[in-house]
């Protein structure tokens, strides 16, 4: 048995928000459950009510919207569904790679994008590729919908800007310009499923030659760094600039996966690898 809580299936966004608001802070929105049920089992959280948002059809959309082909992803979309989407794989391979690097096949059949974001782990794998892509969180509550850029969504370790009674209703990924390169890198202790020691994503735009990158697991919330001007600079000079930016921005701690010193030492190497991966074949 997993402690004591009630379970409710919400069939509309309004119902989910109302249930969450009425129950107050002790209620949690529930999607895949792969983080939340483990936290409940381990006594880290003891919610009084789980509001299952999976029955809400609108929260499982995965669609390309309008002329600009922006992607809208419902928070209840599973990581496997995300990783297997050909359009996403084509336009934002860093996110598809990140999704596939999370846990195991069985867990990815349950774990959702919304859950990975709302869990707000410093080591979340989906956050770095999404913040370099400029993802916007659509947040719905009783008073309507507001938008928050993903790089402002997490406010601390396991903390988000969601207010009581609010849920993420969609993740919007703006148009990624044709020819944009994105890369995801994850340093793990083992080759297999493991949380990141450090995880990075980068994007290089063919339009303005600007390079943005993100580093996870080395600060309380994943960092967004850059942009760095790449035109007219050698790959080595760009790497040097990116490493300098990274070194002055990270503040890693020691934990079960790695020491702070190891993270300080490995991040520059990973940043170099990321820049080389992005610059391969020219900007």
């Amino acid at each position: 048995m997993l402690g004591q809580f009630e379970y409710a299936r919400a069939v509309s966004l309004e119902e989910a928000c109302r249930l969450l608001r009425d129950e107050g802070e002790a209620a949690r929105a529930f999607a895949g459950g792969t983080d939340l049920l483990v936290e409940i089992r381990n006594g880290v959280r003891s919610p009084s009510l789980l509001v299952d948002i999976k029955p809400i059809e609108a929260l499982s959309i995965l669609e390309t919207n309008g002329r600009d082909r922006a992607l809208r992803v419902g928070p209840a979309v599973t990581l496997n569904r995300l990783a297997e989407n050909a359009d996403l794989r084509d336009r934002l391979p860093a996110l598809a790679d990140a999704a596939l690097s999370i846990a195991t096949y069985q867990l990815r059949n349950r774990a959702t994008l919304g859950g990975n974001l709302c869990n707000a782990s410093p080591a979340s794998d989906s956050i770095p590729p999404l913040i370099v892509a400029g993802a916007i969180m659509e947040i719905t509550g009783a008073d309507g919908t507001r938008e928050v850029p993903l790089d402002c969504f997490c406010t601390g370790v396991k903390k988000t800007c969601l207010e009581t009674g609010e849920i993420v209703s969609a993740v919007r990924i703006p148009t990624v310009a044709e020819g944009t390169k994105t890369v995801f890198l994850k340093q793990q202790r083992i080759k297999g499923h493991d949380l990141a020691v450090a995880n990075l994503a980068g994007a290089l735009s063919p339009i303005d030659g600007l390079l943005k990158f993100s580093i996870g697991s080395c600060t309380p919330t994943p960092l967004l760094l850059g942009p760095i001007e790449t035109r007219g600079h050698s790959v080595d000079a760009i790497s040097e600039e990116a490493v300098r930016l990274a070194a002055e921005s990270i503040s890693p701690i020691s934990d079960v996966r790695a020491s702070a010193e190891y993270r300080q030492a490995v991040v520059p190497a990973l940043v170099c690898r990321l820049v080389h991966g992005l610059m391969k074949g020219g900007a």
């Binding site: 459950g33 049920l37 789980l50 069985q106 059949n109």
Partner: protein, 159 residues
């Protein structure tokens, strides 16, 4: 309490479950289908893998209340009319079973793979069972067993 209706191993069932009961607890303690094992209880070991609407999931991290209207398939579904499935026989023939505790989950992960991809490569087999820990065999015999079914059954889907 929640009343849920679902299909398990082809049979339609209606059950009353506690909001905190996991799918694994319902399968073992309420339906008495004890082939599905509990290892870690936190989704790390894969011993409790079952197919939910055809997709492998760890039953320890699914609430029973969530499966209303779903189709569940457990290791018990592998035997038809007293006959082991090709996959089960292959595990025996390859010596892929030692203590046996991981085997039901391992077979359900393999079954899920063969259902979505009847001709997997070695790499795809390894990825599909990476969430199933085995502390006895060293995995090689398991890989051999699944591979032999792919070669033998081909389009029959391993049945």
């Amino acid at each position: 309490m929640h009343t849920i209706t679902f299909r398990i191993n082809g049979e339609r069932r209606t059950e009353t479950v506690s909001p905190t009961a996991t799918l694994l607890e319902m399968i073992r303690d309420q339906l008495h289908l004890t082939g599905t094992k509990e290892g870690c209880g936190i989704g790390e070991c894969g011993a409790c893998t079952v197919l939910l609407d055809g997709a492998p999931v760890t039953a320890c991290l699914v609430l029973a209340a969530e499966i209303d209207g779903c189709e569940v398939r457990t290791i018990e579904s592998e035997v038809v009319d007293g006959q082991l499935s090709l996959l089960q026989q292959a595990f025996i023939d390859a010596g892929a079973v030692q203590c046996g505790f991981c085997t039901p989950g391992m077979i359900m992960s393999a079954r899920g793979l063969l259902l979505r991809n009847p001709h997997p490569t070695d790499e795809e087999i390894i990825e599909a069972i990476a969430g199933n820990l085995c502390r006895c065999t060293g995995y090689q015999a398991i890989l051999d067993a699944i591979r032999s079914v792919v070669a033998e059954a081909g389009s029959r889907g391993g049945r």
